[in-house]
Amino acid sequence: MYTLSNRLKIVSIILIIVGAGLWGTSYYSSHHVTIDNVKTMLAEEASHGNHDVSHAAENTHHNDTDASHAEAVDNHGDEHAEHVMHQIHNRPYSALYVAALFFMMIALGVLAFYAIQFAAQAGWSPLLFRVMEGITYYVLPGALIVVAVAVFAGDHIFVWMNPDMVNPESDKFDKLVAGKSAWLNTTGFVIRALVFIGGWSLYRFYARKFSLAQDEAPEGDRSNFKKSFRIAAAFLVFFIYTESIMSWDWIMSVDPHWFSTLFGWYVFAGMMVCAITVIALITIYLKSKGLLEKVNDSHIHDLAKFMFGFSIFWTYLWFSQFMLIWYSNIPEEVTYFVTRIEDYNLPFFGMIALNFLFPLLLLMNSDYKRIPWFVVLTGIVILAGHYIDVFNMIMPATVGDRWFIGMPEIGSILFFAGLFMLIVFYSISKQPLTAKGNPFIKESEHFHY
């Protein structure tokens, strides 16, 4: 039985407070940026000489979301300054949203992974079930926060939430966004989000309930396990649809003109890598405290294999999406990658190194997969890489080339990391760490590679 140590509690609370402070400061200061500040700033940048290049790049990609931008050649200076001011205002919202999304997807990925273990009747993993159940406790609060941030930010993140975009009278009217308004509207967005969160939480609630009930069940009574199996199978069907739709709604719609048919899978792959990495990290942490003594290095080895495998799977989907769009070079599709390559060159290509090359080379050797500090090291690289992946999904649409990983971003990461740790470890501390009633627990204890 794990007890939530005071040190961990204090560290989490400090993270939350420091994170909230950093984010709050940046939010406050960015909202005091006026159009005159921006003009002065732009004039200073122009005098440094290299502004024309980034300006041109920005024009190409913002024509599609801001239709009025190109027409107004006369007072282009003002228009541009206003545009930049909006980007500066958008940044704290986006930073908060990226971090909220990143941590929520970790928990959601663990929930799917947990359901897969039941549906497949896996024999190696039952020793880790309580760790997984603990992490999935974050799904409900985490997802509600994501939706709350989305609605709070409104058109700071989701341009289509601006009523002018679908108003034919307005000069901001956008025909394509208006055409999609049957799906992309705030009411529908919230209703769909609540349905997804409701479904996920319902599964999480019953899975946990049956898992605990199975521990108390008399010898030979497997009814709770059977119920877990059935709801896991049903949940996985529900999950793969809702996860896809979630990725369109919560991520892809920030660029409302652009779409990719494998985006749901791409998000799923990234989410699974992070999920399995976090399971491995928490397992290693608990093991280092002398708990989970039945977990042996073969379990760590298997988790590391999954980290390795899903990293390659993620790269495969990333490349599949990239190559088709790069090859066909259709203007409305390719702007997505043009923006990322021109304005986000370092995070865009750096993330390939972090998410593909590092796990590939560090975890290729079979022996390294069972060395805890090696898995932790790779895990930290993977988590950093996938944060940047989510960053690259959201930021180009909202802040353009005005990005930086600074106060609002780091503040949001700290805030959600603290919240995540507090909630997850609270849930882990609630129940014994071994799901002793699971029919496969013996097999899991003897599992060896």
């Binding site: 490349f319 990239f322 190559m323 790069w326 090859y327 066909s328 070079n329 290729m364 050797n365 079979s366 060896h448």
Partner: protein
């Protein structure tokens, strides 16, 4: 001196065999070879065999495959007969690289897989038309055979092996 007399202990279950191997190793007897109809999980560890170096070969072969594919595509598509790849900036390998990635991947896998199999066959001294080495044809069906060299300790080995649950124990003189 290589012992010419060997003892063949035959088992009909892989779990019994595994336990027998552990007992024989614990009694510090040398195991010459074990013939099994299918790979027995953990047998190499129980016998104390050195870990395989095939994985290192696979990695190196993969690197060779990657290099071959890069050189090949560069020669074919860029140097020898420059191709227009979807109107992309031509005559540069790097700028057309995404189009070559599938081939780079395939050849990496191709080289690693095929050369690894060939290496395995050569290293195991297996080639076409070679006569089978296993001393008893039943080891290709449902029996397991452990071969131990006899160094003047025949009686001791006989009793040890019959204790481990061998269904048959034969003494064979390899010199004949």
């Amino acid at each position: 001196m290589e012992a010419s007399k060997v003892i063949h202990a035959i088992y009909n279950d892989d779990d019994v065999l595994m336990n027998a191997v552990k007992k024989v190793k614990a009694a510090k007897h040398q195991i010459e070879e074990i013939y099994t109809p299918f790979p027995v999980h953990g047998l190499d560890k129980a016998m104390g065999l050195a870990p395989t170096r095939l994985a290192i070969c696979a990695f190196l072969y993969g690197c060779v495959g990657l290099a071959v594919s890069i050189l090949m595509m560069n020669f074919i598509m860029i140097e020898d007969w420059p191709q227009d790849i979807g109107g992309k900036p031509s005559f540069s390998y790097l700028e057309n690289m995404p189009a070559f990635v599938p081939i780079m991947f395939e050849l990496t896998v191709f080289f690693a897989a095929h050369l690894m199999v060939i290496t395995f066959f050569l290293r195991s001294k297996m080639w076409p038309f070679k006569n089978a080495e296993n001393p008893d044809p039943r080891t290709t069906d449902d029996h397991f055979l452990m071969e131990l060299p006899i160094n003047g300790n025949e009686a001791e080995l006989q009793s040890l092996l019959s204790e481990t649950g061998a269904v048959e124990i034969n003494v064979v003189d390899k010199a004949n």
